[in-house]
Amino acid sequence: MIAQLFPTCLVNEFHPAVGMSVARVLERLGCSVVVPEGLTCCGQPAFNAGFHDEARRVARHTLRVLTATDGPIVVPSGSCSDMLVHQYVELFRADAPAADAARGVAARCREFSQFVAERGGAPASMKTPARVAYHPSCHLMRGLGVRREPLEIIASIGAQSVAFDEQEECCGFGGLFSIKNADISASMMDRKLTAILASGAERLVSCDLGCLLHLEGGLRRRGAAIKVQHLAELVDEALE
């Protein structure tokens, strides 16, 4: 089957390896991966800041690109996925045709772990099992209701999930929140990192690159050496 891959702006600009990993996993699942031409950003930064007109401008473009495609749209990010699935219809409440397009796209969207789980799980197995601390990103867990899938995938590839204190608490990224309320963001980050480091995990894994950039940046500032990966990279590693 054909799967459209929406890389997301963060993956595209900061960590393309995640996109590659996603593609390889999808191909191993029997999908033919297409990256639609002209994708930029889902528009969430503008929307979260309250700039709806600006967000709509970007969203219209994104909708235009996506509605010209078919098949599931795989998004390696809980927050971008939630934007497409829940917030686009909100943004276009006053524009019926756009709202319809948004609903169509929303129905086709799948966050990466969601998609993998729906396709029967990851066909992979780690040669050396790793001890993994999984950070559930907020939009993924609470916005989309995706809680078990990432943990099931981690277990199914032979890695060991290590629980840590207050595991479900927000890491403090929150998009522009990380800059506008940098002090508070850093305080939340500190709590999260202390808990993760105390858990004895070798790796930190999440489904959202935003959270990972924020947490890895904090780990580096602390001089801590735990490996940080997107779930797709972990699975990709086990594919080999």
Binding site: F14, M20, G43, F51, H52, E168, G174, I184, M189, R191
Partner: protein, 468 residues
């Protein structure tokens, strides 16, 4: 963007003692809430029905208020309507003056905090004492409460001991039993001597006009039983349609707040004393307060009027846990406060509050009536953009973003420039000091250098390689 909240938050973050107190209290309350909800049969269903009941009430609020008023009058209570805080205070002071009241004993009422009724009493030469232990200590200390149900979460026992020693001329102690006993002794006299009792209302039951008060200490019972005049100050949104609804809310309120099935005292007041009663007020007044609520009802955040003031959202909120209640700058802190305060006081002076959230959604998850707090925060952010001044850099930046991100070729070119600039400042793939707006990031974290080439470029190359 810097203002009252940013400054207060910074101070709070540096306050180690506050940090310990908040951590300990919120963590415990989270555990207790979980246990409390676990003991509730069919909790999800009760929450759904409670939500439906509140939303239905809001849809029919005018009729409900009329019906409630009629029942109150049948019960022998006098009903007053207050459009503003000042009106409410004026009405309450008038009731007191007409009845020759010298001393008022107050049980917990956040609405009365909102209206600053204590100041109005004092200006009229009428003594007023707070009788909730936490509120009493706040009053003694000249401080302000910092949590909806745990007003002195920000104070240590030593601090409480010092306040009491100073203000009550009792020996210093930091033993909580002793401190509670001091308060009991002091307040007992107040209860017995007070001419007027003043409370808020947790719920007003439309079908029978009952005022429901939910407390643990016994002070609400005291002030509704002993003084000869009893006044209820109640927000117009505090209604529930029937006793069956009240039952649902009672199942949820204490469990969500403290994990208890019910608080020690659940009191239903149905009017002044009846003939033959040995105690109870001679006159009962209910002041129905608008003070911005009808305005909230008219907008995008109408749903927040369904809040039952349990405080669960505060305990679940990582931002509240970091900065505490005073940072929010007004009566209601935390997630609910970030919506109610702009609604009641105006958005312009409190525009920072809706932005002081990572939108994690923990609040919505624990709210007994499933209020969609993140949606309302986003709506207020939009309102702030439409009606208040935004930092020029932010507005320009996002306008530019919108223009660029809707044109792929321009986007590719622009991001290529940004990537190059950032990469030039990187060492080992990381940036320690980012320029401009991004400097907020690198105050606390390293910034990963963007990739040399985008995923898209790499992908097209791979695809081309495969087809050649």
């Amino acid at each position: 963007m810097s203002g009252g909240f940013a400054q207060r938050a910074r101070e709070a973050l540096g306050n180690q003692q506050l940090h310990i107190a908040l951590d300990r209290t919120t963590a415990q309350l989270v555990v207790r809430r979980a246990a409390g909800l676990a003991s509730l049969e069919d909790a999800d269903r009760v929450r759904d029905r409670a939500r439906a009941s509140k939303m239905q009430l809001l849809h029919t609020l005018a009729d409900s208020l009329r019906a409630f008023e009629a029942r109150l009058v049948e019960n022998g209570a006098r009903v007053h309507w207050a459009e503003t805080a000042a009106d409410a205070n004026r009405i309450i002071v008038e009731i007191a003056t007409k009845a020759g009241v010298r001393r008022v004993a107050k049980s917990k009422s956040m609405a009365s905090e909102q209206t600053h009724v204590n100041g109005a009493f004092e200006r009229a030469g009428i003594g007023v004492v707070e009788t909730d232990l936490g509120e009493y200590i706040v009053q003694l200390a000249g401080d302000r409460p910092s949590h909806i149900i745990m007003p002195i979460v920000h104070m240590t026992r030593e601090q409480v001991g010092r306040v009491m020693a100073q203000r009550l001329a009792v020996p210093y102690s930091d033993d909580t039993q002793t401190l509670a006993r001091y308060a009991r002794a002091q307040l007992r006299e107040e209860f017995l001597q007070a001419d007027m009792g003043l409370t808020g209302a947790n719920f007003g039951v439309v079908e029978n006009g009952a005022i429901c008060l939910v407390t643990n200490e016994g002070n609400a019972r005291m002030v509704t039983t002993l003084p000869r005049v009893y006044v209820v100050l109640m927000g117009i949104e505090k209604l529930v349609p029937t006793m069956a609804d009240l039952d649902r809310f009672l199942k949820l309120l204490a469990r969500s707040a403290t994990g208890q099935k019910l608080t020690a005292y659940t009191t239903l007041v149905r009017g002044p004393r009846r003939s033959g009663d040995d105690s109870g007020p001679d006159q009962m007044h209910v002041v129905l307060l608008d003070n911005g609520r009808s305005k909230i009802l008219a907008g995008e955040t109408a749903e927040i009027l369904g809040c039952i003031r349990c405080g669960a959202c505060l305990n679940a909120c990582p931002v509240y846990r970091s900065v505490g209640g005073h940072a929010y700058g007004d009566v209601y802190p935390g997630p609910v406060g970030s919506i109610v305060t702009p609604g009641i006081r105006g958005l312009a002076p409190f525009a920072e509050l809706p932005s002081a959230s990572s939108l994690c959604g923990a609040c919505r998850e624990v709210c007994p009536v499933r209020l969609d707090i993140p949606r309302m925060l986003l709506a207020l952010r939009h309102e702030a953009v439409e009606h208040t001044r935004q930092p020029a850099a932010l507005r320009m930046g996002l306008t530019l973003f919108a223009r660029v991100a809707s044109r792929p070729r321009l986007y590719r070119a622009a991001t290529a420039v940004v990537r190059r600039v950032l990469r030039s400042r990187a060492r080992d793939g990381w940036i320690r000091r980012a320029p401009g707006m991004a400097s907020g990031w690198t105050r606390f974290r390293d910034l990963k250098a963007p990739a040399a080439e985008t995923f898209e470029t790499a992908w097209r190359r791979r695809a081309a390689g495969r087809t050649s």
